[in-house]
Every structure is written in structure tokens, then in C-alpha cells.
Symmetry: D2
Subunit: 151 residues, 4 copies
């Protein structure tokens, strides 16, 4: 089984954050990881689009019970009906998580990941939280992910 | 997105039931469906083995939080940490479910499927439950599944 | 902590089934048990009404996230947001379960209870399921519950 | 139905934090609220002890499936089997949440609360998170809670 990286972040965002997420998705696929995310919009969709453009596999852990909630770049949608509790499954279905900006939902994912032993790399807003590994951008995030694997 | 069939049934079983489940997995893949199951042993493992032998894709919705819970024929393991509640996600991640024998866990999946609008075909033990469509074996189960799609 | 009995059954029902559920609620309270249910209508509401009329305590494990989902005889509503998965919590929050008629949802609760070691007594429709203890009515259901406790 | 306050915070803590949590529990009960918490140790247990000493009602939303997980000051234990996902139910079963110190688990509860519209007051560590209302101690936390109700 390939290693998986969970991408978490803003559910709606501007073009700059989207570009960061898309580049992150490209790098995740190019480095041989599968991509896990919440399957929806904003950072999730941009990261999936990036991963697909580089031939990667994308798994979307959806909050609701309808496959149609998934964005068009999700290969494997998984319905949960768990609402915000599905945030835990987004991070637990990866081997590590990368946050790109985001609000309270992303903060909850960071807390749940740290609590349950999933390493978290953050670009932007939440990079100062204790226990989170900060990264200046997608390239540096991948560098941190590789460091984690070497251990 | 391809249609998906959830296979539910005994978590441990003898060679006859296993042969039925494996044949069911083969037919599911040959008919162009992805296979969803609980990702573990018995009927789940046999059905996955069948689907893989016919070039299909297998998704395993696991009760725990460890990928290692999945049998070796699962392509996409999904951890849930939901224990028996994951039974609901096994059936809701398919478009229809086929039961092969099974005990109380399978019964709960049948109840959850029927309650939430997922058609259920049953081979063996639970085929007499009201609302369940009985099938004599894997071939007939596939016939019933096709009838459902035509509607 | 007092022993708890979970009452499961039809979400909407006629006056006869309601009378059975209400009488069951009365007996549960009179015998010193707390009552757990799904907190909503039909058998759940009637059983709560019975328990309250006899001075009992009622706990309602709700499918959604709004306290207002609870019927007016629930003392302690608990929101879950789990939808049908909350059925598992209805039975696991009791020491035993009593089913009064009911459809596929009740069937799923019976399966989940049996799977996870919760004894099930059934009045009416599902009393013939293997592993379920049949009871002719509320009084006999209480007799069976006492037998369980003596073990 | 009485208003409910969820108390979240460190699962194990020193005597100073415990004293803060216990005082908070006393004030919650004295002000006519029911207390909701995760039902276990540290801040949760101290807050329950405080609430009980002032005649309050305590509800413990447990991560596992055993009632014995609850501390001795929990009146109504609720098993969930959801592990860390139960954090969401701890905050959603209250009308507002008060955090007393705490680590990544508490952070996840804060994120989940803010995301789903539950106001959060924090004493200590997490009081600087955007969207959280800081309080210097239990008395001030109650003042903030009353402000929320007046709106």
C-alpha cells in the first residue's frame, strides 16, 4: 500500500491559496503518495486537481451520504454521514497531514491529528500551533514529509 | 463513477460459503462494478479475492483505525474507528448490497441498508427477511442487481 | 448506577402498539430501571410517557444534532449527528433491549445488539429472529429481563 | 430543558488546574446549568466533582463503550465507541463550552465547537485562538456565558 498524505484546509479560498493547494497536490502525486482529503471544495478540490494532473490517486472522505458531494477530481469518494466528525477520518486515513490555511474546521483536524499521532505540516495560518511543523510552501512541506518517513 | 456493490456476510466461514463469496466477487468485477466490503475476513476476503482475480477494484471499510486490519485483496482500505457502526458505511458506500450467509452483524447491515434505501439481495440465511430479494447463488444475485439498475 | 433498558421499535405506530410500549415504559420504571430509547416518536415516545408516569428517568439518543428532535417525555436528550448509526448507541447505552414491533431500523438495532452482546427481548414482529428472546407482552418481557439479571 | 455547559480541558492535570475546573463546576451548577463533559479524568472529573458538590447534574459523553470509563461524579454516562470523534458530541451536547487548559484533544474540541456554532470560552492555554472568548478564571467565564444568553 502506498503512503497517503491528507490535505486539509480552507473549504473556500482565493486563487493564491488554491494555487498553493494545487501545487501541493502535484508534488504529493509526483512523490508517489496517494492523496486523501475531505472530498469537497476549496483547498480539497485544488489539491485533488493537482494530484490528478500528475497521475495520482485521490480519496475523498465526505461529510454526508451522497457521492455527489465529491468534487470532480476525487477518484474514490467515501460517504460517512458523520458531518464534522468525518474530519477525524480525513486525517486518520493518511500517514501525515498537510494544512493549507483554513479556519475552525482545519483547526479541529489539526487537533485530532496531533491527538492521535498523525504528524501535521502547516502552510500559513495554523503553522504556529504547538506540535505543528511549519512549512513556507508546498516544496518545503514535501521536504518535511520526507524527513518524517526517514525516521 | 462506476456503480458499487457491497458484499456483506459471515466474518468467518467454511469453504462452501467462501466459494460462493469468491464467485460473487468474480461476477461483480466482470460486470463492471467496484466492490465494497468490511475489508476483513471470511466472506469479505473471499469476495475481494474473487474481484481481484477478475481485475476489479476493492474498497474495504474497516471497523478500526489500523490499515493492517484489511485483508490482502483490499485495494483501498478506509479506517473508521466506528466499530460496529461502520456496518452502516459498508452498505451506504455501495449502490446495492449482497449478503452471503452471516450472523447478527450481517443482519444489522441488512436492517441498516433497508432502512436507508439500499436494495439488498441475500444468498442463504437471511433471504427470508421481508424486503430482502432472495437469490439462489451468485449468478442469480447478479441477475437481480441488473434488474435494479434497469429501473 | 441503575440498570438501563433500551426500548426500540416502530417510529410511528397505531394505538395498540403504543399501549404496549407505554405499559412497557411503566413497568421499566416501576422495576427500578432507567429507560433509554431513540428519543423520538411512536414506540419511543409511548415508552417514555409510560416511564415518566411512573416516576422513571428517560434518556433519548437522538439521530440528529438538535435537542428539539426529542419527544416531550425525554429527560436527558443526547444529540449524536450519527443518523442511523445512532441505533448502535441506543442499544449499547442499555444493559438489555426490548423491541416492540418495528421495521428495518428496529431490525438493525436487534442485529447490532446481538452482535455486541446486548440481550434482546422482542414483543411481536421480530420475536422469531434467532438469538432473540420472545415475549408475549410487557409483563413477560420484564420477567425475561429479571431472568437475565439473575445470571 | 436546562441550558447545558460543556467543560473541556486537560485529561490529566495538576492541583491548580483541577481547582479551577472544580470551581467552574460549582459555578455552573449554582447558575442553574447542567454540566456536560467527556466523563473521564483531569479537568472533566474535577468539574463534575464541583458540580455535584453544588447539587448539579453531570452528563459524561465517553469515548468507549464501557460505563466504567466514567468518573464517579458523572450522573448520566453515555457510551459512544467513537474514540476521539466523541469530542464533537461533548461540545454539541452543550449550549456553550468552557475550556480549561488542555492539549491537542481540547484544541480539536475548540475547533469543532467553533465550526459548528457553539460559543467557546477559554481559561488559560487556548484563550488566544481567534474566535475564542478569553476568561481570566471561572467567575469571569460565567460572566461571559451570561452575556451569551442575554443575546
Amino acid at each position: 500500500m502506498k503512503k497517503r498524505i491528507s490535505v486539509i484546509g480552507a473549504g473556500s479560498c482565493g486563487p493564491e491559496t488554491e494555487a498553493v493547494a494545487e501545487r501541493l497536490g502535484v508534488l504529493i502525486a509526483q512523490n508517489g503518495y496517494d492523496l486523501v482529503c475531505g472530498g469537497r471544495e476549496g483547498v480539497q478540490r485544488a489539491a485533488c486537481r493537482g494530484a490528478k494532473s500528475a497521475g495520482g490517486l485521490t480519496i475523498g472522505i465526505l461529510p454526508g451520504l451522497e457521492f455527489s458531494q465529491a468534487n470532480e477530481f476525487v477518484d474514490i469518494p467515501v460517504v460517512t454521514g458523520l458531518g464534522h466528525m468525518r474530519n477525524f477520518l480525513v486525517v486518520k486515513n493518511g500517514d501525515a497531514a498537510v494544512a493549507v490555511e483554513g479556519g475552525a474546521g482545519t483547526l479541529s483536524e489539526i487537533g485530532l491529528a496531533l491527538k492521535s499521532g498523525i504528524p501535521v505540516v502547516a502552510i500559513g495560518r495554523w503553522s504556529g500551533i504547538e506540535g505543528v511543523r511549519p512549512a513556507a510552501g508546498p516544496e518545503q512541506a514535501l521536504d518535511v514529509l520526507k524527513t518524517l518517513e526517514d525516521r
